[in-house]
Symmetry: C2
Subunit: 229 residues, 2 copies
């Protein structure tokens, strides 16, 4: 029985790390990625753009330029590939958000920075909605999408939960729930209406409810409300 994909060094998202220049040709820095990496890249593109169910294995291996056997050597099957695809989306997006949040100063600004990250995402021409929302929409009840989506949602709630905990508000958890709704609404609206401006609109509402939660007596939030209008 051919054994499956155990966690190998290039398994995760660091796609650029194993660019080994040890392959005879010294001048060529750009070595072709491993079949596993090419499969993940092809799956990411195809699954996200056309839907998981609509893309067959043959399309993935063709796009990756990889033999059929390599897929089943590196992954246990399509479900495994789906799982890794969603794990990659999770890691990629959380990294971008964390980076954007880290650059902001102050708890309220860090919250608003999340919506800036959304705005940068929405303007990308490849944007086609939240990969996890889309995956859940077509997922079977026992599919690998369920776990991955639950993992992602935990991250999202913890993100706003941690950020609102830094604010001197009466009920930070309630504020976090409200911000999650704004996040989800911006994500869904940007896809359904093909309008990236939902990020800015959600950010405006976010500044309003942050101000409302703070009782509107903090000068920094007063300014936020003004600039939002």
């Amino acid at each position: 029985m051919v054994e499956h994909s155990r966690s190998r060094p290039d398994a995760l998202i660091n796609l650029d790390r194993s660019v080994c220049y040890n392959r005879g040709m010294v001048a060529k820095l750009e070595k072709k990625p491993s079949p596993r990496q090419r499969l993940l890249a092809a799956a990411d593109e195809l699954f996200y753009n056309e839907g998981i169910h609509a893309v067959g294995i043959d399309r993935v291996i063709e796009r990756a330029g990889v033999a059929r056997g390599s897929l089943y050597y590196n992954f246990s099957g399509k479900d495994d590939l789906i799982k890794e695809y969603l794990l990659g989306r999770h890691a990629s997006w959380t990294g971008r958000v964390d980076e954007q949040v880290a650059k902001a100063n102050g708890p309220a600004e860090k919250i608003l920075a999340v919506f800036d990250a959304l705005g940068a995402l929405f303007v990308e021409p490849s944007y086609r909605g939240c990969a996890f929302v889309n995956a859940i929409a077509e997922a079977p009840v026992d599919g690998p999408e369920i776990r991955a989506a639950a993992h992602f949602r935990s991250w999202l709630h913890e993100l706003f939960g941690n950020l609102t905990a830094e604010l001197p508000v009466h009920n930070p958890q309630e504020l976090a729930d409200q911000l999650v709704i704004l996040y989800d609404g911006a994500v869904a609206g940007a896809q359904m209406d093909n309008s990236p401006k939902t990020a800015a609109t959600a950010k405006t509402v976010a500044s309003i409810i942050i101000g409302a939660s703070l009782g509107r007596d903090l000068p920094e939030l007063e300014r936020l409300q003004l600039t939002a209008d």
Copy 2:
């Protein structure tokens, strides 16, 4: 042939085609629905619960208790069935929202009534997210889902656009955009987190931003903000 698909729970469960104690005689009340109606009911249930792509027409005709040929006699193909399925979802939901809104008194209350309708929807055990968001997630670029979803989004924007136009606010269109985001966020969050309370949370935020748009000087909205906290 003109019958449009109202999502009717009656034809969903009883598929027995041999309950013909009413053959040609009286008892027109309990007459079996037409094959077309049974096909639409079966498609509505299966497409919504398991995804359009994941459900084959064999599953639909089996659930409807209808011969294969009847499907292609009443519909031009699966795409036609998908189109009618989404048209039915559109009509059913807009009817429910209009009803709920009509019962409310006052422009602000009518807006908040939309979120009450969402709350009633989310607590239904069959709720599995917005049929149009789910359909778009797995739709091919030339699929019938695109048109249907665009039609639905137009309705949604007009709904809040018309409601906010009744309010004495400075920028009703901006408020409408914000309310759409709250609507979308409640819908997405209720599905992804399996928590119907997103409707109440979104309603709270809606009352806040309505109050903010009104300048917080209307007594009715002051009360809304208080009860929301």
